[in-house]
């Protein structure tokens, strides 16, 4: 009974969210003058992909918004089911490899704790892990994380979860609603570590986001990104694809009552560039690539990409 009621509640939530996000902008029609409509045309013609379908760039943001508003509350439970719990291992590994927090006593004021910007980290998954690591492993009480997300529903979920952490209502944790492609509120050369975990896939203009990351990072600062990637083993790839396209939308339908959002999710994974292509994009933004540039997790299902802003 309870599952039925929660499910119907879910459905209601997600429909309301969709209605809000999908307010259609009526095409500008002017019969007396042709200039305005001509001006608008190239903007509308620039298409980007939303899963397997092509949509105008202006529309992708609101569509992705609808998806994540719809999945916000069931985000963790769904991640557990879809990845069979492996996403927690990935995230732990990601944070451990970054080793956030100053492990040496600070000599200058600048060295007191790291300034971390967690993009698309709405639910705080990565942010809390990084703060925990800084506090418990490196005994650094000064490292602070700014969680930035474009989606207010995801941020609300993160705020709710931060209540259970020791960082709630301290200067070490803050939330910002912003578009990662354009962050005028963050000054140049101010961030030590920029992380984006399972988020950059949904950006409309990935290169613009990378350029913005390059701008806000201090020289020597690190861009770290974990994202679904291409599996290199054909056997594993076959199993993985089958799981993605058959099981995940079904789980989405049963558990979250929303098949379409999870259909988008797997399609967007499929459309994301390969490890080498994405490394090229990071390089194009001006970052130095350490070693091979990426680390495959579970045979390439996910990959960690890193780039370092060179010292001027």
């Amino acid at each position: 009974m309870s599952t039925m009621s929660t499910r119907s509640a879910w459905r209601a939530l997600h429909y309301s969210a969709k209605r809000r996000a999908f307010q259609p902008t009526t095409a500008y029609r002017c019969f007396s003058c042709s200039t305005r409509s001509n001006e608008q045309k190239p903007e509308q013609d620039r298409m980007t992909h939303f899963g397997f379908t092509n949509v105008p760039e202006s529309e992708k943001e609101s569509r992705v918004g609808a998806v994540f508003s719809s999945v916000a509350a069931s985000y963790d439970r769904m991640n557990d089911l879809m990845s069979l719990g492996i996403h927690r291992l990935w995230k732990d590994h990601f944070v451990r490899s970054l080793n956030p927090g100053a492990c040496l006593p600070a000599l200058t004021a600048d060295q007191r704790g790291w300034n971390i910007l967690d993009i698309a980290g709405g639910t705080g998954d990565i942010a809390f892990r990084m703060l925990d690591h800084a506090t418990n492993v490196n005994h650094d009480m000064d490292t602070r994380v700014t969680i930035s997300d474009i989606n207010a529903d995801m941020l609300a979920e993160g705020r709710k979860r931060s209540l259970d952490t020791p960082y709630y209502n301290t200067s070490r944790l803050s939330f910002v609603e912003a578009n990662a492609e354009h962050m005028p509120h963050i000054p140049d050369n101010s961030v030590d570590l920029y992380t984006v975990v399972f988020g950059i896939r949904n950006f409309t203009d990935k290169q613009a986001a990378l350029n913005e990351a390059f701008r806000v990072l201090k020289p020597g600062g690190v861009f770290a990104c974990m994202e679904f990637s291409k599996v290199d083993n054909p056997v594993l790839d076959g199993i993985y694809k089958r799981w993605n396209f058959s099981a995940i939308p079904l789980i989405g339908q049963v558990v979250a009552g929303d098949r379409d959002s999870y259909q988008y999710l797997v399609e967007s994974i499929e459309r994301f560039p390969s490890q080498e292509e994405f490394r090229g994009m990071i390089q194009k933004a001006g970052f130095l690539i350490p070693g091979q540039g990426y680390e495959n997790l579970t045979g390439g299902i996910a990959a960690i990409h890193k780039g370092i802003k060179p010292r001027a």
Binding site: C103, D192, G221, G291, E295, K306, R311
Partner: protein, 286 residues
Amino acid sequence: MAHLTRTLPKRLFRPIPTPFIHQTNQLSTTTRPTTTTTHLTTPRPNTVPHQNQRPYHSTLHARLPDHTYTNSQTAILSAALDFVPTTGFTLESLTHGARSAGFLDVSVQLLPRREFDLILFWLASRRGLLRSKVEDGLFTRLAAEAGKELSVDEKVKALVLERLKLNKDVKGVWQDALAQMSLLANIPLSLTELHALSSDILTLAGDDAVDASWYTRRLAVAGIYASSEVVMTRDPTAELVETAAFVERRFEDSRAVKEKIGTVGEIVGFGWNTAIGLGRSWGMKI
């Protein structure tokens, strides 16, 4: 894959152009066509086979660098080496290095292998130092001290000792480094580096064997060096006297083993020839 190429034996470190290169050089000088034609029509007798040194590697290209780290990586790593004697081959040293090179704490992400990168950099840079010591006249100095020209074996021994002395400052933390190197994931690169070092030692000592004995000798040098490294970490003397004695004994051993193998080979060969001769004398068609 540059480190793999480095493991190939480098017989020649002095660029000595062969007559063939002379010839190509002359062929490329189109300004003097008469000399070219005379040279082509009357080739000089080839004197190379009688020379001892025959290059395996092109003398027209510069030697590969000792390591393949980028400028920023090298800056952090070489700054970190100053901290190694006190804090060891640790992330702490790397972070100190990043700070003193003007980077941030987080910039150690430039080195994906962390502490192991520091160890590899130490090994590669010491290997380069050994080479530059030889180029600065290490052997002439040693020969003057000994009062005679050094043989190849003596040179090899001197180089092994000289390389061990370069580790003197990090003697206290070298066991940690050895432990790191023996981790499963790190073994291939550690062995590659050991091979590169033993190749370098043989090359610098002027070993110009062009048969399988090069490989056995390289294996022997690698074994002696690796075992004396362990002895060095427990050597209480400042000038590594005990280690030097250990190296001396190991070279004696390897000489003894070589002699024994040689003797056994002779016996087997003699026995085989006798058996064949005996068979033929009995009328067998062998």
